[in-house]
């Protein structure tokens, strides 16, 4: 089948139709929207690179038709492109720096300065010092394994265990499991998920204040998390 011409390529194309098609081709998320979406997926990139999609969509012609002038469509297209460049070059902190999504494997989502306090989603562990495992004889099997990186499957199992305890109505056990998770996976890749379970467990155990504190910290550290709505609902924000 012979490929067809696009309406925009056809000689004598209707000006208004062409303008609408140019407008449709030029649309896209705002620079801030792009940053927010990518951050929420844990694949955020530095602001300087967020406006350079490799989507091979040709941009609209710069020829301004009379209809385009009337509608301002051509200016919308041209200005839209310049806006993206403009926004990505402005030193507008804090939106210039992708919020550090701790525990996500994004190599480029790096905070400008190391946080003084952990920004991990897994916060406020309730483990007491005396509950921590000891290395009395240097051979304790309870100590975190130092050989080899823990697998994602291990993290999944740990969180599932906590969720299972919570589902069974045993919030203290769930919190204990989450403390163990925090110990074994201090930089766990599923720490956001762990924090959501922790908030649920704290609420379930009647500790609304702690749940609120954890939630506030989580929402501050991960405003774009897919769990943000869930967390807000849990604590009634």
């Amino acid at each position: 089948m012979k490929d067809l011409n696009r309406l925009l390529e056809e000689p004598g194309a209707d000006e208004l139709e062409a303008d609408l098609l140019r407008l449709a081709r030029s649309e896209g998320p705002s620079a801030e929207g792009r940053r927010r979406i990518l951050a929420s997926l844990g694949v955020g990139v530095a602001a300087g690179t967020i406006s350079a999609p490799s989507d091979p969509t040709p941009k609209a012609s710069s020829t301004a038709s009379s209809a385009a002038v009337k509608w301002g469509v051509a200016s919308a297209v041209a200005i839209g492109a310049s806006i993206v460049a403009f926004l990505s070059l402005q030193p507008k902190a804090p939106t210039q720096v992708v919020a550090p999504l701790s525990n996500t494997p994004s190599a480029t989502a790096v905070p400008v300065t190391p946080p003084a306090a952990p920004v991990s989603g897994e916060l406020l562990p309730v483990t007491k010092v005396e509950d921590l495992p000891t290395l009395a004889d240097g051979s304790s099997s309870d100590a975190p394994k130092s050989v080899g990186a823990p697998s994602l499957a291990d993290e999944v199992a740990a969180i599932k265990s906590a969720k299972s305890a919570l589902a069974g109505g045993d919030a203290p056990q769930a919190l204990h499991e989450l403390d163990a998770y925090k110990l074994h996976f201090p930089r766990g890749r599923l720490s956001q998920e762990a924090t959501v379970v922790r908030i649920e467990a704290l609420i379930s155990s009647g500790n609304q204040a702690a749940a609120g504190a954890v939630a506030d910290h989580f929402l501050t550290a991960h405003p774009d998390s897919p769990y943000s709505a869930r967390v807000r609902t849990l604590v009634g924000h």
Partner: protein, 225 residues
């Protein structure tokens, strides 16, 4: 590919095929996480997001604009398009292992079509002007008149696209806006080449008729002043 049937069957609002890449259940979950904050985001999606992070990063940065535009053209208001795009990529994160690299765009399109269908059902209709207003580019030089023109142009574009049946709209969007070839479209939607051609012709006619209707009404009003 099973996901191509979602558009090929002209039934974005109908239950998805039971076999193959199960986009539907993920959409229900993803949608639930956004629309119903009381539901949980399954651990499986989080795991997939971590496991596929490198590929997801490439896919998301490459195709975000494409997905966003498809959502808009399928009726998702500008104010909701970011959230809907996030849903599309959350589904993609879970399914990327099953999607060949050369089918990523097709998969994303089918997913976007379904997310848009779900969004249309769940989003309360707000005034279009407000939705567009929320997405007016931050134009440092545009005058108020220019901004108003942009708003009206977007409203007209939405109106014209909404007037088009969805099966025609899919072909029109991919061909005229995303500039895919008819071969790519046939593969993406899962329909024969001949059907692509016939739908495209009907879509163009629908598009041109809608613009003509608008022009006639506009000219009539202008003449009446």
């Amino acid at each position: 590919m099973a996901w191509t049937q979602t558009v090929a069957n002209d039934s974005e609002c109908e239950p998805p095929p039971a076999s193959g890449v199960a986009v539907s259940s993920d959409l229900e979950t993803a949608e639930g996480s956004a629309d119903d904050a009381g539901s949980d985001l399954p651990l499986e999606i989080a795991v997939a997001r971590v496991q596929n992070s490198d590929r997801l990063r490439r896919v998301a940065t490459t195709h975000l604009d494409f997905v966003w535009r498809c959502l808009r053209r399928f009726g998702v208001p500008a104010a909701d398009a970011d959230d809907a795009a996030q849903q599309v990529f959350l589904v993609a994160a879970q399914k990327l292992d099953e999607v060949p690299v050369d089918k990523e765009r097709s998969f994303l399109f089918a997913t976007a079509a379904r997310v848009a269908a779900n969004a249309r059902r769940s989003i309360h209709r707000r005034k279009r002007a407000y939705d567009n207003l929320a997405h007016v580019p931050e134009d440092p030089v545009a005058t108020q008149d220019q901004l108003a023109d942009q708003l009206r142009a977007r409203a007209l574009l939405d109106q014209v696209m909404e007037s088009m049946p969805e099966d025609l709209r899919a072909v029109f969007v991919l061909f005229e806006i995303e500039e895919m070839s008819v071969y790519e479209i046939a593969d993406a939607i899962g329909i024969p080449l001949g059907t692509v051609g016939s739908r495209l012709r009907r879509a163009r006619k629908a598009f041109q008729d809608a613009v003509a209707r608008y022009r006639a009404k506009h000219d009539f009003r202008r003449g009446a002043v």
